[in-house]
Subunit: 285 residues, 4 copies
């Protein structure tokens, strides 16, 4: 999958997902402010991430929790995308918001709680842009594939699937990350499959080992939460990596990537706004 050109901020030209590439999408759980997003976006771009993630519309268990900045958050994401050259993936919760979110992002995320929100699946299918579809916490792999069929049925084949942990009984982790889902999905679909070790474990200390495991298990990429101040994050702080932890993880992953016969995916050079020690690196499969 080629992340489509032609969007207004133009930043996603040339980013490849799937095939022999490995793509890291990273950023804060929620967009909280211009400063916060700018800091984190620069850090993840500098460390070698290929895409920026961040939530403007946040699905929260309780209505008392921070619900995201909404359209203002989308605008901050678009600005951060322009500043860093990283295309943006962000969640859409409401079928009525698909058009608005699509104007600000390169990829629409359908979250775990909405995997079987069929009106939303149809709407993102119609939007004609890449969709990141996360597995529900109690969804079988077959149900995930059926959910992707709703998007496909609208003529949209640009779908990336994401394993992010299922409900289980051990309170040691927030969810139970089902890494075997990666090779199982590989047998049943050609769609790229990425893994979210942040939600999949719920604890920052477990993100790096599960990220490495996802890569060697055959994942096409990762979705990772990064925050400059996890302790004060408005959402899911305990599972966020600090920028330097994220950079260390990416260094680790880059050593493993060639052994997995993959190439590190990055936006094409002309789109990269942030200089990075990686710019001149040759990463051969």
């Amino acid at each position: 999958m080629q992340l489509g050109s032609g969007h207004e901020h133009g930043s996603q030209n040339g980013l490849e997902i799937g095939g022999d590439t490995f793509v890291v999408m990273a950023g804060p759980c929620a967009v909280e402010s211009a400063d916060q997003l700018h800091t984190i976006a620069a850090a993840v771009a500098g460390a070698g991430a290929a895409m920026l993630r961040g939530g403007a519309f946040k699905p929260r268990t309780s209505p008392e929790s921070f619900q995201g900045l909404g359209v203002a958050g989308l605008e901050l994401l678009a600005a951060a995308s322009r500043a860093t050259g990283l295309p943006v993936v962000t969640e859409v919760l409401d079928p009525r918001d698909v058009e608005t979110v699509a104007r600000h992002a390169a990829m629409l995320q359908v979250g775990s709680r909405n995997m079987q929100n069929f009106p939303l699946l149809r709407e993102v299918g119609k939007a004609g842009m890449p969709v990141l579809l996360k597995r529900g916490a109690a969804a079988t792999i077959d149900e995930l594939l059926h959910a992707s069929d709703y998007i496909r049925r609208e003529g949209n084949e640009q779908i990336v699937l994401c394993e992010r942990g299922v409900r289980s009984f051990d309170p040691s982790t927030r969810y139970l990350l089902d890494l075997a889902a990666v090779p199982v999905l590989r047998e049943r679909t050609d769609l790229p499959v990425i893994v979210d070790p942040s939600h999949g474990t719920g604890r920052a200390a477990l993100v790096a080992p599960m990220a490495r495991a996802a890569l060697v298990a055959g994942a096409d990429g990762l979705l990772i939460e990064v925050h400059n101040s996890p302790a004060t994050a408005l959402s899911d702080g305990p599972q966020a990596l600090r920028p330097h932890e994220f950079a260390e993880l990416l260094a680790d992953l880059r050593r493993l990537v060639p052994l997995c016969r993959r190439r590190w995916s990055r936006p094409s050079a002309e789109n990269r706004a942030t200089s990075s020690p990686l710019d001149d690196e040759v990463i051969a499969p």
Copy 2:
């Protein structure tokens, strides 16, 4: 909770839910045709059900499955409500459909897959009419209560909660019906709690024992699927009771209800369009 008067079809006047009443909502999984709905609605009304259920908008795992009749299904439900005097509960999937569904039903159902569809919860909250909120298949009881908070926050306190089984490992049943959720919810909320033994087990043979169990465990009612021809049903046939099985179950339940210090809930006499052997029965607590 008093099922609100003032709706255009007027059928729901005087139906009480919660308190010392016991309410049975029954009907087909999906509205398939005028004939099918008429037959089933008459049967469940005659057997003593208090409300008619039936899906016009169906959330189906695969987009290839029957998706419901949509607005035509709503109109059939409204007609069946007028014919039988039973108020209708039916599912709404899309926040954009809430107004339409609300015009045809006495109670809006938010299904299991949408328990954390927050835009939908907000919209049914604003509709200002009773809502049936089903527990998600991987939702904790706390998460169910938080979901109800989204409805409440819009000023709508008329919420009925519904246990309908959670995901588990034994293929003997489709879901694992968590009846202990009934007394647990009783401790934590004043909202009425009903049980859906049809989805909660997935097999018609298990519906009656689980329905009885729900009653004596303290449930305020039941949601039961009934079909005149389960083998040819367009949705969830294996879990549907045939009309005579449903009538036998209701006879059983009516024997147990007084022992549970409850009253059998029915629409008030002037609204009952279908004569029933129960009409003259005195059901004392």
Copy 3:
């Protein structure tokens, strides 16, 4: 199943399990002392229980927890059985202890953790006396039946199965009590099936509703923990009923039993050592 005569303490003559009877086994989780056991045994006998339960060998998650009184506990159980006329069911953990436990009890319990302890199953099979086999916390119903086949294969058909909750994700209850297992087992086996709502929920407040639910769902009996001082119990206090709560529950159940076309099972009159208000009661199906 007729609880076998001929044991040295002779107390179990005439107790029937299965068929149209309903049997309540009750007592402390662990035998702690002569006084404790005497008090509780008298209370459960007086309230109408048919059998006395109590653990002498306790399987505890941590080796630091109270492990039971062992043989001394068995002797206290045998004495309590003589005093009350109630036959005893108690757990055996070690195949090497089967003979010893068999000398002191009328029924051998194989606990949840040992459902697939095959050497133990074979040994209780050889003991030629009734066995109570509890479902493992992650066992399917098929696996439970296969486990009972190990006992049967030794020529022992006197097996009672017990549903006691499976592992699940909601911390609201200790286990998730799978009451649908009762009718499912009814379809697949002729063995009597009882339910343990104490372990199945882990909380005393949930025991009564789940006990009633088990009865009307078709269970042949219950296994209930009772303690005169739950707060100081050496094992599983939070799930123990106090004697007066147990008596109230039994009064409730006795009202429901005839509606379920069952008879309340009790040891035959000549074996009853404890007088009870129930002695003269006629309980007709």
Copy 4:
């Protein structure tokens, strides 16, 4: 942990587990015959495995299934150990068999079903030799650690823990392999932790990706089932690798091991009876 010298077959001298080593234990699920075991043992030794696994006493769901060769199987294992130089790990099911099994093996395995078989844990604790303790399919990580405490309490600290999948809801895999358990255990214990991707997935095609994932997630080793004829295996054929698949996997793992700052663990040279292309290889951390 140093696999103890001094056993009668002397093969385990010098094998290190834990620390910076990575140990692969492999062999058939069940010992079926001298020929079968000889073929497989030679293959796994030649591919670079450090230990030979194989079941002589098999815990099988149904009593109709093959139950293992018993003592004859132990003797075949001891012979295969002498022939290949690989120390043997094999399961013990019955506390009465611990002494016999200990005479034929270098490490005693306590299987998943017996994780909370406390008499067995105490007996292997007393045996004073290394124990492989597998996590129960519904056991939390805390419960696994408490189970290991039973062994420790008898003075035996030589314990290796093994993650092998937990029960979950998706039939795509036999169990759900919980790889996050590896870093979680690392935080809570100094005991070595290995992973069994064969039982943990139940399908041969998933073993290699999960084996690689376990390594990079921080596991100290693997337990892998290998069979020369999976289609005719008497136990768990669908999850067995063929010898050439196993050899390919080990080649893959050996490329990853140095990146994980680990050394490939093998029996010391004087104990290696099977020549292997690896004999002269220098594997530096």
